[in-house]
């Protein structure tokens, strides 16, 4: 076994150890739970960096496979067994670093943020199991373990979202997240079933090799596409793509650091990671569908984000939008760009959430101080002017906002540009021009709503002067992670060239994977496509800077200088505003159709079961009873009647004959003799 794989295993299992320690002995550790968990994650992070650097130094892929379950039988002359294993390649190491880094920072952040929580050690335990499952997704080399950890991520997000389960909204959100994810997982699972049925293996390597050799499920191109898309369903659920994006905004009911960890950087990125992993077996059709899903998602979410007032909701929709972006990037074939956007986004979006957490923390303390329980600590309309009070939070937040808006010199600029270039190239080859249009539109929208949030929160005047006095900068444990993440939002970490990522280490190490689908099904050949991206790059950069700048400008005009009245617009476009504010009525739609349908069907079936099926059973019993009553009557009247009649007859005869019975011995004797003589007379 390659020694580095031991390190990978150590990285994987350390958070699990942390989880087990805290879940069983959490009570004993009390306030030290956080430090213990943070220490574990710190070690994890160091190991991840170590693995990262040692892996990038080599081209080899470290892979180990063991047989988990052997069925001791052969199918098509192949031994039927389930292999599992772990694999470390460049993509894995990058993801390992992202996950452990964000997780570590969130651990640190939570030391302050969750200090007074009632279930402090439970919280850290849950963070541990989450990190474990997320790392599991990243290091496995097969779909089975992937699915296993996939579901475990679902569980741990359930636990984390529902951390404050006393609140109905929190437990609702947790439930919703799990169930919606399950719907996606169902597709994923069906995809796995198709693959397993055809190839009897679930390792990436095995499947890709088999597809490369021309074996297709049911010998059909459509089924290969379907398999890819079904696996993508998992991503739809986890990465909150349309139409299963509805859980993510609700998931903001969880503690803010949790939002940063799982709903910005890692869990939702798992879907994108899944697409990236599955990329070699995706056909052109599948990729097109994926691209459209991404585009639609990013557009819908961006429009909703514009009108939200809850700071976390804005960030949530921006996350959905950005995830759509990544999926779109992968869909159009800009593989490296999509993955890179995943990484850069992880850093700045986690930062955004943590910064918003910092703001909420400060607001909470102020409100708590004033005994104000009515004002919503997360509503941007009740904030404003926090710049002077919370400088570190402000400046880091600004950095993140710039990054997400795609302003040059930030990491976001690099990755977003590449995606947009990819969309342009894609439309060049395939004619799907809607995708780049949506891409640029969303870029502008993103810049607009992010700056809207930034301005409303930090600039201008605070709404309540009295409260303003009580707002302070957050403690170190909160702002240090912010600063670290802000640092990572600079371009230099990803490419030394500030305007193009394509010559950076990232593009070199995470390159377009070898596609295994049959040639006639594959997307545009890699070389041509990469070439075209280069062609489109300048154009994409110019356009993107343009639309972002425009978005930022409008935001400033509207909210900072107040040249345009947002309220007036809102009144003017009331129906549209309501439509967007109510999130395109997705929740209402689902409640009215899927949820109500299922529950209604459930009630109907329960009624059916109780009334019809059980009714038939009881009816049969009733019928039997009636028959038995009738036969009982028959019995008493006819059968028993005959018996009774016999008895009655006998009695009557007895009554008659009784008179002979005198009780006198001699009379009897007379009769006996008479009888004897009669007999005698008869026989003689």
């Amino acid at each position: 076994m390659i020694p580095e794989l031991n390190i990978a295993l150590a990285i994987l299992f350390l958070p699990l150890v942390s989880f087990l320690l805290l879940i069983f002995f959490g009570k004993r550790f009390l306030n030290r739970s956080g430090h213990i968990a943070t220490t574990f994650l710190g070690i994890d992070l160091i190991l991840a960096f170590f693995l990262f650097f040692s892996k990038l130094a080599t081209e080899a892929v470290w892979d180990i496979t063991v047989t988990w379950i052997d069925f001791h039988t052969m199918v098509n002359n192949i031994p039927l067994k389930l292999d599992i294993g772990i694999m470390v390649d460049n993509l894995t190491t990058v993801m390992l670093v992202v996950v452990t880094l964000i997780s570590f920072l969130v651990h640190v952040f939570s030391l302050a943020y969750m200090k007074d929580d009632v279930r402090y050690s439970r919280y850290y335990a849950n963070l541990g199991i989450f990190t474990f499952s997320m790392l599991g997704i990243v290091v496995t080399n097969n779909y089975l373990l992937m699915y296993v950890f996939w579901e475990l991520v679902g569980l741990s997000s359930y636990l984390l979202i529902g951390h404050w389960y006393e609140k109905k909204s929190a437990s609702d959100a947790a439930k919703k997240a799990f169930i919606v994810n399950r719907v996606g997982d169902l597709g994923f699972f069906i995809g796995i079933m198709i693959v397993w049925m055809q190839y009897s293996t679930l390792t990436f390597h095995g499947i890709f090799t088999a597809i490369g050799s021309g074996v297709l499920p049911y010998d059909s191109n459509a089924w290969l596409t379907a398999a890819g898309l079904l696996i993508f369903c998992g991503a739809i659920g986890k990465s909150a793509q349309f139409p299963l994006h509805v859980w993510l905004p609700d998931a903001m009911e969880g503690p803010t650091p949790v939002s940063a960890l799982i709903h910005a950087a890692t869990m939702v990125a798992a879907g994108v990671y899944l697409v990236a992993r599955t990329f070699p077996m995706l056909t052109a059709d599948a990729l097109m569908v994926i691209a459209y899903f991404g585009a639609v998602t990013s557009f819908i979410a961006a429009t909703i984000a514009i009108v939200q007032n809850d700071i976390k909701k804005i960030l949530a929709y921006s996350t959905v939008s950005q995830l759509g972006y990544m999926v779109m990037g992968l869909g159009v074939g800009a593989f490296s760009a999509g993955v890179m956007h995943l990484v850069t986004h992880a850093a700045f979006k986690a930062g955004l959430f943590l910064a918003s957490g910092s703001v909420i923390y400060a607001m909470h303390r102020a409100l708590h101080h004033l005994n104000d329980h009515h004002t919503d600590a997360q509503d941007v309309r009740s904030m404003g002017g926090l710049k002077s009070k919370m400088p570190v939070t402000f400046w880091t937040m600004t950095m993140f906002t710039l990054a997400i808006s795609g302003v040059p010199l930030t990491s976001g600029f690099l990755s977003k540009d590449e995606i947009l270039a990819g969309t342009l190239a894609y439309s060049h080859f395939t004619g799907h021009s809607l995708i780049p249009i949506v891409g640029f539109l969303v870029a502008g929208l993103t810049a607009f709503y992010m700056f809207r949030m930034l301005i409303l929160t930090f600039m201008g005047e605070h709404k309540d002067a009295h409260r303003f006095e009580h707002i302070h900068e957050s403690p170190k444990a909160i702002i240090i992670p912010l600063m670290v993440l802000a640092t990572f939002s600079f371009f230099a970490f990803f490419s030394l060239n500030p305007i193009s990522a394509s010559q950076g280490w990232f593009f070199e190490k995470i390159s377009y994977p070898a596609v295994v689908v049959p040639e006639k099904l594959a997307a545009t050949p890699t070389e041509e496509f990469v070439e075209e991206i280069h062609h489109q790059h300048t154009m994409a950069m110019a356009l993107s800077v343009g639309v972002s700048g425009l978005g930022i400008l409008i935001a400033f005009i509207t909210y900072f200088w107040k040249k345009i009245s947002a309220d007036a617009f809102e009144r003017m476009l009331k129906p549209l505003h309501t439509f967007l504010y109510r999130k395109w009525f997705f929740d209402e739609l689902y409640d009215a159709t899927v949820v109500a349908g299922t529950v209604g069907l459930a009630r109907l079936l329960a009624w059916f079961d109780n009334t019809i099926i059980d009714g038939i059973v009881n009816g049969a019993a009733w019928l039997t009873k009636i028959v038995s009553v009738i036969s009982g009557k028959f019995d008493t009247l006819v059968v028993d009647g005959m018996v009774n009649f016999t008895a009655f007859f006998t009695g009557m005869m007895g009554q008659t004959v009784q008179k002979v019975q005198t009780g006198k011995v001699q009379t009897y004797m007379i009769f006996a003799i008479i009888g004897f003589m009669v007999l005698l007379a008869l026989y003689i």
Binding site: Q661, T662, G663, K664, V665, Q666, Y668, M669, I670, I673
Partner: protein, 102 residues
Amino acid sequence: MTITLTHFLLISAILFSLGMYAVLTRRNAIMVLMGVELILNSANINFLAFSRFGDMNIEGQMAAIFVIILAAAEAAIALAIVLNIYKRFHTVNVDEISFLKD
């Protein structure tokens, strides 16, 4: 006219009938017993008559002996019963003792 078997048999028949009549009609239990004795005697006469006129000399007499023995036993027991009945019902009239009816 010689005395033949038939003569004896007729005597025994008359004796039997008289005994039977006593058994059937007399109210007093002791009288009933007497009737029974008459019947037994008639039977004995028959035994002995057949014993003599048939060719079974000693056998008939043996039977008669046992009848006598049984008659003795019967008389003893029957009288004891009659005494008990008397103790209980203060009468020995069989027609008044009609428990069998109930």
